[in-house]
Symmetry: C2
Subunit: 507 residues, 2 copies
């Protein structure tokens, strides 16, 4: 599902420049002198640079300068890939003294332009720090280098009967350090909670090169302020995470899922309540697709589950996943639930299909996970990853569509679809506006309109993707001046010279 195609959007790049985001003038570019120093502490294979004497070709630097969406492009002349925390520390210490900006980079799958330079900062890639340090199979505690790829860790703990507490579409490329730095949510949050709960310890290189060792494997440790929490979701602006200690839950023995068609959106909330009560601890996902999202997924062959005649008139769809310790128990619970739903006097659902085997399981998930791809096949997507009360999901989508309509923009050569889907169980709506092309007119119609809508509902302008370079101007819609002021003071403590991921998160 993860494609690394770099679709550069000129409009987006322009919008980005026009907001005047650029590396602070107080920071310096990497020079040949710096490079000579780096070469003295790192293996040759750890250094990519267009500077002499290394003279790497540009296309070796490109993948580190361009973000996953192709919307943001940096201008780093040097990428370093240290292999140990000591090497990271030495690099950072040097950069701090020389006032060189640093962008910590994981798998570069971030969706807000946080992982590439805004100017000519140095890119410090964690890709070469990719060893598991330890795994305690009894407590389920994994300690791994920050550069370990999420999929690799998933594969590592699976035969030891554990799962990673997070899962996301980018798992084949994203790194655990990047996940922690972005406080990634993903598909298992409903079940296993956020990384603020499951990350037990971190090793971090602070912006002056000091190694902060909080790499504990303790589940409980109430000794002073919990500093590691600050790095979770700081998007590399407070330091470089070099290792992560994380709690992995026991692997479920069985998983199942069902797709449900609902006649009205209003039924989503009562349905969620019933499902939560009846499935209780085995409920692991409750995902939402509006009619448009479902139709687009089906149109583009992303999974197939329901009969066309049966879903006539359905206003939206819900995917429920269970995972638990014993297949027959879980199936019994799920079947009982479905029976109850279908036989109710005023049923909340039109119909529902339970997966009977792994391939059906995949094809039901395909409907939900395929929405992104389906939309990208239809046109250019303006993506908003917001948190709002579940009850307002439909209102938010409708209000956006109405607003575009009132601007005369709902037409085949402008906006084709306004789509809503997402992690309903977490109040996280992916509001996507699918257009024929990226244009300034559409961009202006959408912002600040959507951010103001989110603010009205006391929501979050970024549920899981973060702020990066893309949303610094929108932070104030979700955080007040007091909070932003405190954030800036905290940034000042850790990074007084502002070298760490400049221009990201805070303006």
């Amino acid at each position: 599902m993860l494609s690394l195609a770099l679709r550069t959007s000129r409009t987006a790049l322009n919008a980005y420049r026009s907001r005047g985001i650029h590396a602070p003038a107080s920071l310096n570019a990497v020079t040949e002198t710096d490079l000579a120093h780096f070469a003295s502490i790192l293996a040759p294979s750890s250094v990519i640079s267009s500077l002499a004497p290394v003279n790497s070709p540009t296309d070796e630097l490109d993948p580190f300068n361009q973000d996953w969406m192709g919307r943001f492009k940096g201008n780093a002349n040097t990428v370093l890939k240290p292999k140990t925390v000591q090497e990271v520390s030495q690099i950072v210490k040097w950069c701090n003294e020389r006032r060189i900006g640093i962008v910590p980079q994981g798998g570069n799958t971030g969706l807000v332009g946080g992982s590439v330079p805004i100017g000519n900062e140095l890119v410090l890639s964690l890709a070469n720090m990719n060893k598991v340090r330890s795994f305690d199979p009894v407590a389920g505690i994994l300690v791994a280098d920050a550069g370990c790829i999420l999929q690799a860790l998933t594969d590592y703990v699976a035969p030891l009967d554990h799962v990673m507490p997070l899962d996301l579409g980018a798992k084949g490329s994203c790194q655990i350090g990047g996940n922690v730095a972005t406080n990634a949510g993903g598909l298992r949050l409903l079940r296993y909670g956020s990384l603020h709960g499951s990350v037990l310890g971190l090793e971090v290189v602070l912006p002056d090169g000091t190694i902060l060792d909080q790499l504990t494997t303790l589940r409980k440790d109430n000794t002073g302020y919990d500093l590691k929490q600050l790095f979770i979701g700081a998007e590399g602006t407070l330091g470089i995470i070099t290792a992560v200690s994380i709690l992995t839950p026991p692997a479920p023995q069985a998983t199942s899922n069902v797709i449900l068609a609902l006649p009205h959106f209003d039924n989503v909330l009562p349905l969620f309540q019933t499902v939560k009560r009846d499935l209780s601890e085995i409920l692991s996902a409750f995902e939402f697709l509006d009619r448009t999202a479902y139709d687009l997924a089906v149109k583009h062959g992303q999974g197939k589950a329901l009969d066309e005649s049966e879903v006539e008139g359905a206003q939206c769809f819900v995917l429920v996943e269970t995972s638990g310790g014993r297949r027959e128990h879980d199936e019994e619970k799920l079947n009982d639930l479905l029976e109850k739903l279908l036989e109710a006097d005023e049923p909340l659902i039109n119909t529902g299909v339970v997966s009977q085997n792994p391939s059906q399981f995949e094809s039901i998930w395909g409907l939900r996970e395929g929405v992104t791809e389906a939309i990208s096949k239809e046109g250019k997507a303006y993506k908003y990853d917001i948190s709002v009360p579940v009850a307002t999901f439909k209102d938010c989508v409708d209000a956006t569509r109405d607003h575009l309509e009132s601007k005369g923009l709902m037409r085949p050569d402008a906006v084709k679809y306004v789509v809503g889907y997402g992690h309903c169980g977490d109040g996280n709506l992916h509001l996507n506006v699918c257009a024929a092309a990226y244009t300034q007119e559409i961009a202006d119609a959408l912002e600040p309109f959507i951010y103001e809508l989110v603010q009205k509902h006391r929501g979050s302008v970024s549920a899981e993707h973060g702020i990066g370079a893309m949303k610094t101007h929108a932070l104030h819609y979700s955080k007040d001046a007091v909070s932003i002021g405190l954030m800036k003071q905290i940034k000042g403590i850790f990074d007084p010279n502002g070298i760490m991921n400049p221009g990201k998160v805070l303006e």
Copy 2:
């Protein structure tokens, strides 16, 4: 179980004084002028003061000056019990300008002397802020004033099919604000994780009186640094929590438990692994008692479950609790597990008893929960609440006993028992040294011995109770100089005048 008997220990109070803990000279006592100001903004019932014109009798102030253990005694002349966040803000603003120290106080059940003044600071009690602000029965999100008592909130959400994500012995008195301020762990941590994961938002009055509104009800919100995390476990040194937004899980429909007798301590880890795998998502507690703890509990009539002949030779005991969505499923899993354990070729357990009804359920828990009381009936307890690897639980207890033995202190008129029990599932050992009386000789033999032992195992000198006034000198055994330095800088940002709970957490 919660007794408010105030057992003052002179030795402990002396030890406390001899460490030179006192309110900084830069802080002022509350004067009649201040009192007049407070009286102008608060209802008369919100003010207790020995100063004129209020002239409250001392015994009205005593309960606020003395901690639960009777080890710490403050000297506040004034206690304020504001009713709104605005009142709190006005009080704090005044105190900040006048440099008056403030101790935020919840239920005053804290076990490290954090909730009472070390000198003549003002006590700000949250007791009058005790309303539920909202509850969303679909998402399970509760927003409550900080002064709500944990038991009251448990009772509030129960008929709405939810449970609080934490439970502890002090629940009849402790407040949700105090729980968050201490990052309380308790009996449900294994199942529902830590407050860093389940607290969604906070309203906090900062030390300059500013109201920080992060009282969101969003499960996901990646917009900048997660500031609220800093207040979780800060023990009132960074600000006053006035409201909490917290995720409550759906109530389990059935709970059960079993007590298991183990021939050797070495079996605990393999047993934990088997139990985790087989009970998976319904496992809700895995508690450990060593032989001494068990025998003391039985001796003092704290629950009864196992036949004497059957537990002969058992070295330790484990209590397993399940809670899940369907009784027959859960019982089946538990019975299958027991059968497997008993019929194994080399069984990990000698015997086990499953509760058959609510009263047996209580009596099995009684064995575990009654240890504290049993110990207090035997003598004076030196209590260490530490996190160490589970594999070293027995070593830690044995090493402490051996050490006391080598000092000639293991005798009926000095140390009677060294006892280990605790939340095995969380790596949290309660190491209790039960003595005939508190003496300096024993205290000196125990510290820094135990802290060094913890440090050797990279453990935590305070798993859940915090640092308070009692352990500021021991913080460095679990946190290095870099971490402590950063904590002090953070304290400096929030509370430059050092008025908020002075002398606590950081020296």
